[in-house]
Symmetry: D2
Subunit: 436 residues, 4 copies
């Protein structure tokens, strides 16, 4: 069997004193933190699209990344080579989960029937490779945004034939996800939005989106696929406006259409910041509604207005994200999928390892810090104290719905000006810094 | 009676050939457009806070606007003078509606009981001035964000005593709005959000916000106030994050809490753009849900990251806004409130007239253009054609819920690759330009 | 000769009453406005890259635009076909100028010598087609950003071999520009910047950039190329930071390196707004320094953080741009180049015409409005009045350098508090609206 | 003498194990790092305006911070009380430097002569308090942006009388800065810009700005003030556009007007990010030009579009800033001035200590990490290697100006396609993380 990453062996945990850039300094899969192994807490996944199909192209130039598994002349052989390279990478990196779009792993053919056959063939191989390696599928998805037919949307396309095509693709992608034991299935509607309102019937498109999701829920139940469905919010890009703008928008939409029990969120860091939210904000909004399912672990550049999909290395971000994950009791079906790509100039195969090692170490540190913060309980105690007024008296009565405006006016007239207390933001920020 | 704007008479409509800057060139109140007078279509309102209480201060300097009605030594006399000046302005401008916060019109006293008395006193005068002039109240609201007690929020404050205080204020403000015949009541939760997640229990605060709104709905029913309740979305400022982020977020929240039949939206242009949406986007989202109630007519500077609250003059914006308003059948309780302020350097009293005349003329032009577009039907025809696939066949069956993934896969396998059509954005943009 | 745009004839001026979308309603090439024909004022150019080589691809999908001149199997035949199609388009559109990158018109070969031969061959054809049609070249340029070798910059690359390669390309591109009678040559340094400061020697790269430009100036003089050199600022994209950030940065850099007499600016609307400036701001900054050479006429979406390169249709923008152009006395070597692309969904050949017609009409209207404003002189008079204090007295003495801090302190102590006057922004904005 | 911060003693260094929030955990003034004490490296200064005059007000509400030294009824007594409180704070905090605007320390009177007298009186006290405590002045400045007279600018005002007034203020402020032994004098032109181009003669205003700065240089030489002059760039706010946009713009402007030998830059973190630059970018641009004089140490919120002036706590920022400072050889006249304010909700006096302690600890950590990085030399070695081609051969000849386009074309034709190397961004980011 051809080796695609010669000279690189299994990435080992060597601890913080190592200066081997191809070793983990913090991520120790079997180390127990807060009652579970790191591996079980973090549930890292490698994404297929960026890591194996990414070319380094951008709007101002074609790809720079030349990969040994690219054999574009014979598409199916290239697809198999790529899949084998991927499983070699997974194994050497020591990650247990992966994610893919249907079109990443198998190239589209001239018609859907043929395309589906190709997909089946590659899924056969994936199944075998999963078995051989113990890898599992975090989630699968369909790519219903790249092909020209989807230029005006998939389920929100002005043409019902495109809606139907997208439905056919999701049906098949859900089936292969089920076959590969996928723990989830993601909807990212890259073109579910609009470029100009001048040619858009917004209400009708939103109704179609809801209809489509309902069909997906129905079909999932029919085939007894037990994976979790997720929507991944993004505010824009490639469209001017994407309907799944952010966590709050998606949750509202799901509630409005009676889908909030069936579909959770896959929150991506860079998508949150493109929507002008802190990563932690969108995590918290999802978690507060019991709908934080999984995470796309990357980072954007907050001074840049497009999706840079960089690998996560910021320890503040990883700490605050893991704090939210710990607080909600950890992942069940979800995990941390590195929806991130090496930079256009990072042309060496080794860079793929650096990128993932850095991301895994950053989240391992975030986990350990978050566990320490949780254990110490200082932040929790300060929070509890700040809201203690709601535990009894008028606060508790408000929460129980026992009082209205009239009772509260009487209360105010009696008690006078409320006391105020410092928000203590600087002290809390200093405290956080002491954990880093 | 003292005259506050001497030398300025009633602003007249002089038509497009006039070069009198203190005349309307486009707004002709009684002119009938698309079946109604301009006045009835546009329902302009002057806001009290910016126009009469605005000082021109900003974070880098105190006020520049010296007004003849400012007599700060005697607060109640100053309040009366200001109200009389306002009604003189309304009358000279020829606008029929106004809006206010409780604390704009009457200064706060040492305690709530005394403050309420002051408010009653000023409302007596307002009632009389309304009677004398024929002015009506578009909506009232409370200011529960300026005072120190609200620094950490009103209904989302960590302290139940502040929640109670805010409830008392809203109760009273709703009562005086009712007394003045207000057609609506607005909630803009300037501090309903957070500055840092480190000290915030987001879920609890959101629950309190819902509780508060329910109390407001209950009290409204109790006192039989027949005005419409509105929430005015804003994404941030003064807070880092405001819970009422944008139209979609607010609608989702209202649906989630069973409040969407009771509360509509007051959409502000500058708030929409601060949330990274076109003004028209937020109007359309609200209208698509049957929840576009009223509009705060201003504009931001899209290259500036704070609320500039400039007077609306952009004809593209006013045209597209009025297109959406016409499409939904026009305002019922709502209107166009100029939540806009003259620039810090616009220190002359005359500038207040220029500002409002410009805004009114810009919306009058927008209305006329939108009416022409609607009448011609070109855009509608193109839109209809783009979505015609949904009127019959598989499109109609999808909309009626008669098919699922399996039927659609069969359809796709049978019909093959869908046809695609040009989105024609450039042609549509050119067409729009021809109407301007 | 094959016709690439069958069914579309020469675009005619039909005036504002026409509802033929494939006619000019405002642009009448020979009509005289402010002493010159519209054609002479506006000097429209079509860009080769977007209009003939653009595919509609974006980071989330490959191209959607299928062109009859694409024959990718035989690159040189395809290049010739494309050039012929372009000249057919130019002629039918009735535009007199074009712009290109070397790599747009002729495909790169295996080595530079061969690539240059290919370029020469296509330039032969271009020369003949120019002669046949009367078309002229507004400016030429090189593409030193798409190829993998330039991934870390061209003149600011860490490798001197890449610097040398870029120099070789510019040398050749300047030669062919000269041969085609180009009125100018543009530097847009798409990758002259950095992705991360961690691997960047910023000072050294800036020095290399200056060295490179000096070489270009030297070579231009050597070959007696009499076209104007321009730098086109852009703040970022594809790089995180581009050294030619905006007009002010470029001007400062040119002054610092003694290049400001040799190189002017080509200001692009969308690049200005990506740098958080109004389009007119960057035009004015360049014009104020006598360095506004040419314009890339497009528009961005101010709510979107990447270069959307849309066709210019906003009448405010075209009016204010033409006001600045008229004020500086009109273009000499420069013109209005449509560095703009049809949307990904605008897949019809006709859309290319709609796009350019819309842009030309929008600038024709902008020109006529700007000419009217200039002729009326109202804005000028108000500006003159605002600054009249500098024409005599202490103002004139300050400007002449006759006084310093001590004299001014004495002046202030004597004259006391300065008078202030309204900035009259609202009145001016209304006045502008009256011209539209 | 009244104690303004009772219960808080001198802040001590207690080391990383301390959990006393009112102790330093990292900043140990006398500890030697990289050859100098921390105090000498960091040269912390407290700013007078935010820390002692800040009220917590924002555009949506008046102040929340009630200070024991506020006695607004008697302005001069209040000014003295405030100054004494400030020196108590400086002493307890253990910081050696401070900064102020003239109008912070002494209130404006009815005319300039009287205002100057007040200023002299307070400066007498400041001089004595400096002597008593050993405090030094990092820099002084004038406030020529808050007063109504400056609403349209100071040196760029349309009125020469305002220019003269500003000159008088700067003259006096420079004199008192000299008297207090200030190591520098800063120009931050808060209103040196415009609100609308419709009423602005941009070129004339820029010329006036240059004239003004030249006068300041002249006067400085005349009075033999030996402090360093600085300009502090900011892109906007309060104006729409500020002429001193960012480091590159200011440097270009200074060079253009022959002022670059006389004036350096005071770079503020939050101003850099408002200009869409990383903090480190603007530091590097200034340092690359030998013009990095001093730093305003704060931070913004990159998702917020206004100046939040938060205390610096981000360890990435402090590390990268100190790396740049170490690389340029450390501060000479400059230092780290905390131009930062406690949040509106941070109403306790103790919060002022938390804020400064956090900022000082964050920079102390940044310094230690940067010193370690510098000492290890790994980043330097990688950088050197990346640019090694310039040390000899064609690279060296390019840098020495020995070759032009022709030689480089010959070089390229001979050597063929340049080799490319990975930019290694992920590896470098991981390496940086290992130092934190």
């Amino acid at each position: 069997m051809r080796e695609y990453f010669p000279g690189i062996g299994k990435i080992a945990f060597e601890g913080g004193c190592s200066d081997n850039p191809l070793a983990f300094k913090h991520y120790n899969a079997e180390e127990v933190v807060a009652g579970k192994t790191m591996a079980d807490h973090l549930r890292f996944a490698v994404c297929y699209w960026h890591t194996f199909k990414g070319t380094g192209s951008d709007p101002f130039g074609p790809g720079t990344l030349i990969r040994p598994w690219d054999e574009p002349e014979r598409p199916m052989e290239a697809a198999e080579a790529c899949l084998r390279a991927a499983f070699e990478f997974f194994t050497k990196l020591g990650v247990g989960l992966w994610c893919f779009h249907d079109r990443d792993i198998a190239p589209e053919a001239d018609n859907l029937a043929e395309t589906n056959k190709r997909l089946d063939k590659i899924v056969d191989l994936a199944e075998q490779l999963q078995q051989d390696t113990g890898m599992k599928l975090l989630w699968g998805t369909t790519n219903a945004f790249s092909h020209r037919r989807f230029m005006a949307g998939a389920s929100t396309n002005p043409s019902p034939a495109v809606f139907a095509y997208a439905a056919s693709q999701v049906k098949k992608a859900m089936e292969v996800t089920q076959r590969l034991g996928g723990a989830g299935y993601v909807f990212w509607g890259g073109r579910e939005g609009y470029d100009t309102l001048l040619n858009t019937d917004l209400k009708r498109e939103l109704d179609h989106l809801a209809r489509f999701l309902q069909m997906a829920v129905d079909y999932k139940q029919k085939i007894r696929f037990d994976g979790q469905l997720y929507i991944e919010p993004k505010p824009k890009e490639p469209t001017k406006h994407q309907y799944d703008f952010d966590a709050a928008t998606v949750i509202g939409f799901l509630v409005q259409h009676g889908l909030d029990k069936e579909i959770k969120l896959n929150v991506e860091a860079n998508h949150a910041t493109l929507a002008a939210h802190d990563f932690q904000h969108d995590l918290m909004v999802a978690a507060a509604n019991g709908m934080l399912g999984s995470i796309d672990a990357n980072r954007g550049d907050l001074l840049i207005g497009w999706d840079t999909d960089q690998f996560p290395t910021n320890l503040y971000d990883t700490t605050l994200a893991m704090l939210t994950v710990l607080k909600m009791g950890g992942f069940t079906t979800g995990g941390l999928n590195f929806d991130a790509k090496v930079r256009r100039q990072s042309i060496d195969l080794e860079d793929l390892f650096h990128a993932h090692i850095g991301g895994m170490d950053a989240f391992a540190r975030g986990l350990k810090i978050a566990a320490k913060i949780t254990e110490d309980g200082k932040f929790d105690a300060l929070l509890k104290q700040r809201y203690c007024g709601w535990e009894e008296g008028v606060g508790a009565r408000i929460e129980r719905g026992e009082v209205g405006f009239e009772e509260l006016e009487a209360y105010t007239l009696k008690h006078g000006e409320p006391a105020v207390q410092s928000g203590r933001q600087e002290m809390l920020e200093n405290l956080l810094n002491e954990y880093l």
